[in-house]
């Protein structure tokens, strides 16, 4: 009997779980500026603090949601201000290797390899995310089961429907058990039943993770988010609970639901210019 393999037994509680978090907010931005392309400042002086929970990032098209999420995923370098993720300052030349291991990211235009099966794809992403080799099969299976693709795990990606591909994308985002999960328009292409299941998954993830979901669907926010971040022209317009957003709207504002009326009330305040849409 040897003790050499003992450390492969997965422990229910390990030192990292018990360690106190050295930060107050998972995401903290002050005066954050991020460029999209060469000149346009898509995020322009944003102050934002996000903790554990599901945060719905809401805003009109072109508000800078994708640019902000990319900056949070550390693939775009901030042009100004400070951004702290999990207590670590982002910016400069560093690769943020240790930080990225704790981030999950689903881009809006989510590309994949058509010839890979779902399992191969998630395994490949787990390798890229430096999940310890011994944990990969279990982590992959868990992620695939979480998004309800277990029966399709050995189907090639090109044979999946749009909604299933999106779910495979969510599976790769959660495969490394991230502390910060960034989802850019994850509900696009999901049918209503899948959307309901997805919201459940979001609520479940939001109990111990900082989840940022960008969306333009107000009803997603109402159903799944603990917190709404309303974002327009690169700046924070409103941050609060969905109820507070609903309270901002009156009967005179455009919209079919209280949340939509609150949304249009906050975005159409005087002084804000824009097109008819």
């Amino acid at each position: 009997m040897t003790d050499r393999k003992e450390h492969h037994v997965m422990s229910a509680v390990n030192a990292a779980d018990l360690a106190p978090a050295p930060y107050a907010w998972q995401i903290r931005a002050t005066g954050l500026k991020v460029r999209a392309g060469r000149t346009r400042m898509a995020v322009d002086g944003l102050d934002l603090s996000l903790g554990t929970g599901v945060h719905g990032l809401l805003g009109p098209n072109g508000a800078g949601k994708t640019t902000l999420i990319r900056a949070l995923a550390t693939v775009l370098r901030p042009a100004g201000g400070t951004l702290e993720l999990l207590g670590e300052s982002v910016g400069g030349q560093g690769g943020h290797r240790a930080l990225r291991r704790r981030i999950g990211y689903l881009p809006q235009e989510f590309g994949y390899y058509k010839r890979f099966t779902v399992r191969e794809f998630v395994e490949y992403m787990a390798w890229l995310k430096e999940v310890p080799k011994a944990d990969v099969p279990a982590a992959v299976q868990r992620a695939i089961e979480r998004v309800g693709l277990a029966d399709r795990a050995d189907t090639r990606m090109k044979a999946l429907s749009g909604g299933m591909v999106r779910r495979a994308g969510i599976a790769q985002a959660v495969v490394n058990d991230p502390a910060v999960l960034l989802l850019d328009e994850p509900t696009a292409g999901l049918d209503p039943a899948q959307r309901v299941r997805f919201r459940k998954l979001l609520q479940e993830l939001g109990t111990d993770t900082c989840v940022v979901v960008s969306t333009h669907l107000v009803e997603d926010v109402a159903a799944a988010c603990t917190d709404v971040v309303l974002f327009a022209e690169g700046r924070l317009v409103f941050q609060g609970t969905p109820d507070e957003l609903a309270a901002a709207g009156g009967p005179g504002h455009v919209g079919d639901s209280p949340l939509e009326r609150g949304y249009s009330a906050l975005l159409l305040t005087p002084g804000r210019t824009g097109g008819a849409w």
Partner: protein
């Protein structure tokens, strides 16, 4: 592992369901059991000896489960693709490598077809393979790290493994495939490796260096175009070995290689961001 093990009394209590073990003791006991194989063995012995109810329950479950387990087919674990392969090459690189190979073979065939059928004649004829060898790996490098050719570019670039090590790993695997084929082809056409190997490495590193600034795809397109205009076209037109491929040009290529390597190292952060994928 740890020098201290659980007392026999505690293990017995635990085997009975542990109604009177204090919560803190229980926690410590379970945390220890997770990491200590010896104590787990003692626990299973204790269960077998002293808790017949538990043993009977486990046996019942097992007898109920066994026929169903036998009937269930195992997962078809047929691996279509070895895991180490995707660690070295992206799936999108493979077609590009195939293309590079066919270009090499075509050039080789044209060279072997010899004078008369080729583009030039006489003793001064330049092997087409020599003219193409330095730029062929550039195409493979472009395919392994570019936004337009790799559908999962944004996913890849956001991962902890993204960055210079991954770029170099993929570049090395492209070179490992292309260079031996070129060497073999060179032997057949009578070209010495000294003439093209250093230009080949220099252009590859120049692609990466330029790629850190303007994006790898653009860098590859720019360098291949430059090569075609400055070296390939004049050489085909005049049927003379271009100046840059003479052996006394080697120090210049060495300088380019050193400079490009320096730029790559200095700008290594750029490979972990979206810009370098353009």
């Amino acid at each position: 592992m740890s020098a201290e093990h659980v007392a026999a009394r505690l293990i017995d209590d635990y085997a009975h369901g542990g109604p009177d073990i204090a919560a803190d003791e229980l926690w410590a006991l379970e945390a220890h059991l997770e990491v200590c194989r010896d104590c787990r063995a003692r626990l299973s012995a204790a269960v077998a000896a002293r808790a017949p109810a538990v043993t009977a329950l486990v046996d019942t479950v097992w007898t109920g489960l066994e026929p169903r387990l036998a009937a269930t087919a195992g997962l078809p674990r047929r691996r279509r693709r070895p895991a180490w392969l995707s660690a070295w090459l992206t799936p999108t690189t493979v077609p590009w490598l195939a293309m590079v190979m066919s270009v090499t073979l075509l050039a080789l065939l044209l060279d072997l077809a010899g004078p008369g059928t080729g583009y030039g004649s006489g003793p001064g004829e330049v092997p087409l393979l020599l003219l193409l060898a330095p730029v062929l790996p550039v195409l493979g490098v472009a395919a392994s790290w570019s936004r337009g050719l790799d559908p999962a570019y944004e996913l890849t670039v956001s991962t902890p493994r993204a960055g210079l090590p991954l770029v170099l790993r993929r570049t090395a695997s492209v070179l490992a495939v292309v260079v031996p084929v070129l060497l073999a082809g060179g032997r057949l056409t009578g070209t010495t490796a000294a003439q093209w190997l250093l230009p080949c490495l220099a252009l590859t590193s120049a692609t990466l260096a330029l790629g850190a600034v303007i994006g790898v795809t653009r860098a590859a397109v720019a360098l291949v175009t430059l090569w075609a205009a400055v070296v390939l076209a004049p050489a085909l037109a005049t049927s003379r070995t271009p100046l840059v491929l003479h052996t006394h040009g080697l120090p210049v290529w060495g300088l380019i290689l050193a400079l490009a390597t320096g730029v790559v190292i200095a700008r290594r952060g750029a490979y972990a961001e979206l810009g370098a994928h353009r």
